[in-house]
Amino acid sequence: MKNSLHVKLLLKITQEYVNSHFTLVFSLLFSLLFLAYSYNFSTQNWRPIVLIFFVIYAITTAYVGFLTLRIKQDLASYSDIRKSTRLLGYPLLLTIVSGNIFSTSFAFLLISKSKTAEYTFAAYALITQLFIIGISALNLFKPYVTDTYLLAMGLFLLLAIFYIVMLILCSKFVTSEAAPKWMLLLGILLLIASLTGNLFATLLGYSLIQKARKANPSTIEKWQRILEKILRNTMAVFGLFFIVLMFSLSVTSSWTFDYDFAIENNYGALLQTPSLEYPLGTDNYGRDLFSRIVFGAQISLIVGFFSTIIPALIGGALGAFSGYYGKATDNIIMRSLDILYAIPGILLAIAIIAAFGANTMNLIIALSVGAIPTYARTMRANVMQLSNLEFVESARALGASDAAIIFKHIVPNSLAPMIVKATLTIGGAVISTSSLSFLGLGIEPHIPEWGNILKVGSTYLETHSYVAIFPGLCIMLLVLSFNFLGDGLRDALDPKSN
């Protein structure tokens, strides 16, 4: 019997145990939610489908609880998890069918002994692909599907099988330092596969290519360390999962979802409650809410992304010049940006849209302009810090030009805070887009965008609340995911915590 302090320490650092607790709590939470929703209090009867979900989640919770106890036992007795316990993780993989992302990812974590980042990416790429297949499969209940539907679904199934193969290969052949040479080809294939928007495939491909090419070991090590830190933060990983899922969905929806269902009015199906044909119900014009929300993700993500990237680039450049040159340049740039900063961001956006008209381009410009000063300030602070370090002096002594010093040496090293800031404010950009659409100043009202859908739903909050709840939930979850990811990135990239 080991020292109890030793056991306590083991429990803290063993990823499987920490994760199993996490999974237990969330599974329990969802089971209780399903239980509460399964009884319709106004009509005094049960909702059978919800009840079935409750039962499935309850069984999952119980199984995870059992696994938690077993892991604890294993760690206390053997300081490591036994193979038999790991094998018990396989049945838990089936819970992906019920959409339980928590227990599925826990299962992947449990069944493999190797904990490389590649394995995790492959697992999440597979989970994302399966979710996409599941969501797109709901379209089968519509009167008809798009012409490219069967082709796209076939492609998705092939990709899912490919990811399963990658998963097995990664767990067998990839270590934390190296990967076999033939993985280079698979890495390239993965990069091509990421055209479907599955960013986990991109990360996996990039990682494998780096390792297979036997790149600089210190680069590999730095990359691995950052990845491991992020991946250890479960909330950040789930945030990333949701973002990648939304992104992938918005890319592939052009092939599997019919745009007409989302735009054309259908006067025979006004305000229908959720059913198989209309998974999230219909709005007051008879348009399918499910298709509208999926297409709305495209615009919300595009506008949110561009109205973060553009001010990051412009503000970053201005801040870099300001911080490097100092004195007069710094003064001029910063004071002008201060004037811009003094104008309330959303009012500036409203004024720009009212003046130039409401369309996607103007929306992006309007939201970008107000965000430039904060990015400039962040970059300036970092650049000022770094400019005084010795390596800059030595680069100057070696005859490097100012531009080269700024963009080759200083900026890459000050990217970390900018990345963190960007992920944290992209959530704000998504909310601003939705707010402007809600006020009628964004996209045209019939174009699906989460703010537009929410606006229509807000007048029906009392009678048909689902029209407002679903887009609201999506906005909330996306922004929450960005926040969690930003937190995780900040913890991972913070040099002080090394």
Binding site: L140, P143, Y144, V145, T146, D147, Y149, L150, L157, D258, I263, E264, N265, Y267, G268, L270, N284, Y285, G440, E444, P445, H446, T459, Y460, E462, T463
Partner: protein, 597 residues
């Protein structure tokens, strides 16, 4: 393992066969729809839903649609005046209840709101205005045929109903009228508990907070329609179903003489003007007399009587207004279509029979048999003139007061320096310009207004002791711009009557025990006005007809859950001509083809 894979493969193939793709269902579209016509629709944010449905219907019929949504009426009018539209989504309510008003201002060449100039249409409008009964119906049918089906100057959408919500927890719903054309009637509204009538203010609402003018002839819009209707009395009124009556007006009775060109009104003497002094309403002691009627109607028909006269076209059919001095005239003339003399027609229910006609208002005494009679003449037979006299612009103002305030020269009027009777600035509280000079002949008078509400109190000299004496002493009109907010205010009891409940919220009002829903027909018609200059729709009848037949009124009615009615033109709520607009996509293709060739 191998067998499982083979089985799965076959299963997938089988399932794939069961799935229907879009091209199988809808048929392949033309490879690249060439030359799709773009149509620009202009509308206000309030009509966003209608614009969406029109857009949807046009897109399904092969048009490209661009939406131009303006936040309020001001920016909408600016865009309309600039001509930035192919279709403008407009609505019109015939507040006078007569079909002539539904077409004259909108479609006659030179009409107040008209952009149409078609001489055959003008001729039809003139002819129809002289007719009554079945002849009129037939003529208006010809008019609609030309306006809508032959030339497609407008594409009609629907006729609305009126839905009024009453906070019946406090207010007696039986006392709240819902007239078809007339503005809201305030004098008969009572609380459930009569003791509250003298102490509790009744809280009503309207959307627009900027009042055009409290002079009845200087405004003709939703900001002052109801307010001026209740501040000034008229010669006649409309009932809830648009009949012209003397009830609740300045006249005991009225009569139309043979020939339909002379109209007689015998006036009451139990109405005095009220004025505002120290924040309260006082009886000025001045009688609302025939002299005031002559003055009011003469200025109503004279476009030069005030700057920014908004309603002279309504009264252009009045030739003369005079006080009758010869009793014999009334005894000799016969009523149109009968043997009765005008005097007999004017005599029912008088306090005392007519013995003489007063020389001036000083000698009026109805109890002793001395009355004033006013005569109005029209250049051509025009019975609809009575409907225009029932409009709020026919309100009677005080000759003495208006002439004492309007001392400026009309031609040289400078709004920054000259004060006109009825200016909003003179009734806005807390400003240097507050100087309430209003003289009200009606049941209520405006004390003051600010950005949130206007406060009215009862006219202490209006029909005291009769059933028409105003019941509630104080009325506040709140300004609530958004109709959904107004509905929430009604449900909380913050306002007591909601003039128009949104069609999609009727169930909420019906199921609320504190509220009562009143329903009535309305004269409000929504339609698309086609641009008549500078756009392709202006030149081509085929294009206009293609747009016309794309409109499917049944879809509008199902969107509004059956709470709208089909329409053909602005005349439809008043006269049913039997015509109907049916959407027809074959005709659309036909006309588009004709346009493209």
């Amino acid at each position: 393992m191998k067998r499982l894979l083979v089985f799965l493969f076959i299963a997938v193939l089988a399932l794939a066969g069961c799935v229907q793709t879009k091209t199988e269902v809808e048929g392949s579209k033309d490879s690249k729809e060439k030359g799709k016509k773009t149509v620009e629709i202009l509308g206000m944010a309030d009509s966003e839903e209608d614009m969406n449905i029109v857009r949807d219907q046009l897109v399904k019929n092969g048009f490209e649609v661009k939406l131009n949504i303006q936040p309020d009426y001001g920016s909408f009018s600016a865009q309309k005046d600039a001509g930035n539209y192919d279709l403008a989504l407009s609505s019109w309510t015939t507040v006078t209840g007569n079909p002539d008003y539904a077409v004259r201002g909108l479609f006659k060449t030179g009409g107040d709101y008209s952009i149409v100039s078609d001489s055959s249409l003008d001729a039809l409008i003139e002819e129809a205005s002289t007719l009554t009964g079945d002849e009129a119906a037939a003529k208006y049918k010809e008019l609609e045929q030309l306006l809508v089906f032959d030339q497609a100057y407008i594409a009609p959408l629907y006729i609305s109903n009126k839905y009024q919500g009453i906070y019946s927890e406090l207010v007696n719903p039986k006392t709240v009228h819902l007239p078809k054309s007339r503005a809201q009637v305030w004098e008969n509204i009572e609380f459930n508990d009569p003791s509250k009538n003298a102490t509790e203010p009744l809280i009503l609402h309207q959307t627009i907070d900027s009042l055009t003018s409290l002079d009845p002839i200087k405004g003709n819009d939703g900001s002052i329609n109801t307010l001026n209707t209740n501040m000034y009395v008229r010669l006649v009124n409309l009932t809830d179903t648009d009949e012209v009556v003397s009830d609740g007006s300045l006249s005991y009775n009225h009569a139309i003489a043979e020939g339909n060109q002379e109209y007689y009104f015998i006036l009451r003497d139990d109405l005095n003007f009220a004025a505002v002094k120290d924040g309260a309403a006082v009886d000025t002691g001045e009688l609302v007399s025939a002299e005031d009627v002559v003055f009011s109607l003469n200025r109503a028909k004279d476009s030069k009587s005030v700057p920014d006269h908004r309603t002279y076209s309504l009264h252009e059919n009045i030739e003369t207004v005079e006080i009758v001095s010869d009793l014999a005239e009334l005894q000799k003339k016969k009523v149109a279509g009968s043997d009765q003399s005008v005097l007999d027609a004017l005599s029912p229910n008088l306090p005392a029979s007519v013995t003489q006609l007063a020389k001036d208002k000083g000698t009026v005494n109805n109890a002793a048999g001395t009355y004033q009679v006013v005569k109005i003449t029209t250049p051509t037979p025009f019975p609809q003139v009575l409907n225009y006299l029932a409009h709020q612009s026919g309100g009677i103002v005080s000759e003495k007061q208006v002439t004492s305030i309007n001392t400026y020269d009309v031609a040289a009027y400078n709004p920054d320096k000259d004060i006109a009777y009825g200016d909003q600035a003179t009734v806005t509280e807390g400003t240097a310009t507050y100087n309430n000079h209003l003289y009200a002949s009606g049941p209520y008078i405006l004390i003051k207004k600010n950005d949130y509400e206007a406060q009215f109190v009862k006219n202490p000299a209006y029909r005291v002791g009769s059933e028409y004496e105003p019941k509630i002493a104080k009325i506040n009109v709140r300004f609530i711009a958004d109709n959904d907010s107004a509905l929430s205010a009604l449900r909380n009891g913050e306002i007591h009557v909601l003039q128009s409940v949104p069609e999609t919220k009727l169930d909420i009002v019906k199921s609320d025990t504190k509220l009562t829903l009143n329903t009535a027909d309305s004269n409000a018609v929504s339609y698309l006005q086609m641009n008549t200059s500078g756009r392709p729709v202006s030149e081509s009848v085929d294009l206009r007809k293609a747009i016309l037949y794309s409109i499917n009124q049944d879809e509008f009615i199902s969107y509004y859950q059956g709470n709208k009615k089909p329409a053909v033109s602005t005349v439809s709520p008043l006269i049913n001509t039997g015509l109907k607009l049916e959407a027809d996509s074959k005709k659309v293709k036909e006309y588009l083809k004709a346009y493209n060739d």
